[in-house]
Amino acid sequence: MTAPAKASRVVPPGEATARTRGPYRSSTPADVALLLLGACFLLPLLWLVLASLDADASHETRVPAQAGLENFAAIMTPALLLQPLWNSLVLSTGTAAVTLVAAVLAAYPLSRYRSRFNTPFMYTVLFGTCLPITAIMVPVYGLFVQLELLDSMPATILFMAATALPMAIWMTRNFMDAVPASLEEAAWVDGASRMTALRTIVLPLMRQGLGVVFIFVFIQAWGNFFVPFVLLLSEANQPAAVSIFTFFGQHGAVAYGQLAAFSILYSLPVLALYVIVAKGAGSPFALSGAVRG
């Protein structure tokens, strides 16, 4: 998943654009063209679903001779499924939590005080989002060796949080800007400190936005393969993205049905979370908080 939050203004897919439908009418040629394109996008996914139900699946897409859940049953073992998924959960929740705390703290002064410092800082942060993370993995490995942090979950969480942070700061500040400062001023009069006001007034008002940031970072961390692949070496620490590769990848067992079943179980949480963000979180408001440029 490549930073979904990077869209300048993201609209969830199912959301119809009725708001400005303008002069266009529904046309059949457009339907046909769209369905054809959609079919191209659907085909590779179809294999995943069909193969997962087929006990002797190959690369071919075909309706299983005998559909069944054998593949799912075969992978339901603690070592194969639960441990990696638990590791993914720890890694993603940790990354999202660390990112959110750091982003909220950083966004507050950037949103509430005016200073020459703000604009250059925000652009530096934005520049950070442009770093190709795959390019820095070799140096990050070197750095982790020197700091003796290799194969450490907390260190990997901190690194993944750092990579998600630029986008999270940017989004969080936009959400925070939308909360009027006048509300806090009333609290200051009552003698509340700035941090208390942030906690009791500002954050509750932007909790939808915070949820969006949390989920975006979570989804990204959940799907990340390369970072844990390089930084987490022992099997006991590896998240699902890596274990799926070692068990079933090019060099592992050739069990396509189980690979597909594992893939589906591993993908479900992010699909569900995406639906929550796209549908539930009051979409136009929440999602337009992403980079406004």
Binding site: V90, A97, Y141, P154, I157, V202, L233, A236
Partner: protein
């Protein structure tokens, strides 16, 4: 409505840090942990079995010591990469690990391996090890850094049924390269659906490409990879180009698998698991460990493989010299230089490699024994009908140059074979690319034209 969001998040964050920091946990109560890293795949579990047995034995004998087994899933290349990544950092370097003989020197140079001489002195079993095998664990300083688990040789494995069907007289023994091609063409003419004679090539099969393929060719031309006398790498040899040209013939004429199949890192699984048992493959160059896949309890059990398969030494280019070529490798156990418990680690290593465990491992993985007490065991000698044939090849076998540059040279050779079988380069071009790569790796002063 109070705003618990930030508080909740920081709670989660701190809980997680505590949680993750605790799980691996350095024990504080005087108990000790040994970390053991080795390779395990769905078709190679002999080592897993051996270490599980050793762990039980060792933990029972040493109260308070925990042996933490950390298998790495992956083929030889993946295993090598992951092990190297872990060795580089003291915090992740294992105490005891499974190490390929050809990496011993470069890892000694890197300071990753513990010198074992003082421990070996007190180990009575050490005298039982074969001298040739002991050399594989020795470094330039004369010290021993790794204990050999076993060794192997390489030969042509052929399917007698396929050969009989094509009317070839058995037992088959080609005397030169031409006879291999003649036989292969005959098989193909008889049944085009059969792959007559496969040799690995390309980067997919990694070290297998050179050990079970290119080196059997190269060393049969009278050329070599490395000149032991001058300590220089050989470049520009006619033998190198001839060897590439032979591969090109095999692949261009469809005598081997398709190039696309050859580049699949799993191709060897098909060789052992599908093509040989189903009589879809005539012959290939493979290791003496081949029966380990087919015997009872192997990954690709094949009752009757003893009757269906035959073995023949790989011939030299024109039948000259000793007439046959073989390559030997093998794996060792080594101890990390940074281990905090060198005595315990060695004690575990010697438990893992005691006579019983060694014998079981040697049989499970069809190794050629490196210990006299294992070699003399009747179970070993009768393990399969091929033990005698492949063991005799020890007399003509060659070893890879034991220098720390070797792994990268090997990668360059694999690259050359891949370029040739895919048609990207001609044998001559690929050979000159190789020469340039070698000069680049070791420096022009360390090469010699021969």
């Amino acid at each position: 409505m109070r705003g618990p969001a930030l508080k909740t998040m920081s709670l989660i964050a701190s809980a997680l840090v505590v949680l993750t920091a605790c799980t691996p946990g350095a024990p504080e109560d005087g108990s000790k942990t040994l970390k053991v890293v080795y390779q395990k795949t769905d078709s190679f579990t002999a080592l897993e079995t051996m270490f599980q047995a050793a762990k039980q034995e060792f933990e029972a004998a040493n109260q308070g010591v925990t042996v933490e087994l950390q298998p790495i899933q992956g083929n030889d290349d993946d295993y090598g990469t992951k092990l190297a990544l872990a060795l580089r950092s003291p915090s992740t370097a294992p105490d005891v690990f499974y190490e390929d003989t050809f990496k011993v020197r470069s890892d000694v140079d890197a300071g990753y391996l513990l010198k074992l001489d003082s421990h070996l002195e007190g180990w009575e079993d050490w005298d039982k090890f074969d001298d040739g095998a002991k050399a594989a664990g020795r470094a330039d300083d004369g010290g021993t850094y790794a204990v050999p688990l076993g060794t192997d040789t390489r030969a042509i494995w052929y399917n007698r049924k396929v050969f009989e069907a094509a009317g070839i007289t058995l037992p088959w023994q080609p005397r030169n390269w031409q006879e291999i091609l003649d036989t292969a063409r005959k098989i193909k003419a008889n049944d085009p659906s059969v792959v007559p004679f496969n040799m690995y090539a390309g980067k997919g099969t990694g070290e297998g490409t050179v050990m079970q393929g290119f080196y059997e060719l190269l060393y049969g031309t009278g050329s070599m990879l490395y000149d032991e006398e001058t300590k220089k790498w050989v470049v520009g040899s006619a033998g190198f180009t001839d060897s590439l040209a032979f591969l090109k013939t095999l692949y261009d004429e469809g005598l081997a698998v398709t190039p696309a199949e050859a580049l699949d890192a799993n191709v060897w699984k098909k060789v052992f698991g599908e093509w040989f048992p189903n009589a879809k493959l005539g012959a290939t160059v493979e290791g003496s460990y081949a029966p380990s896949f087919w015997q009872d309890g192997g990954s690709y059990e094949w009752p009757g493989y003893e009757q269906d398969m035959g073995v023949a030494p790989f011939p030299t280019q024109d039948g000259g010299g000793p007439g046959a070529v073989s390559m030997s490798g093998g794996w060792t156990l080594a101890i990390g230089a940074g281990t905090k418990e060198p005595d315990l680690a060695f004690s575990f290593l010697s438990t893992a490699m005691n006579r019983d465990n060694s014998l079981a491992f040697t049989l499970d993985s069809s190794q050629i024994a490196v210990r006299s007490d294992v070699a003399e065991d009747s179970g070993y000698q009768s393990a399969n009908p091929f033990v005698k044939d492949v063991s005799e090849l020890v007399s003509v076998t060659r070893y890879r140059p034991a220098t720390s540059d070797y792994p990268r040279i090997s990668a360059a050779v694999q690259e050359a074979t891949e370029a040739v079988i895919t048609g990207a380069r001609s044998p001559e071009q690929a050979a000159s690319d190789y020469d340039a790569a070698v000069a680049d790796i070791v420096g022009g002063d360390n090469t010699i034209r021969k």
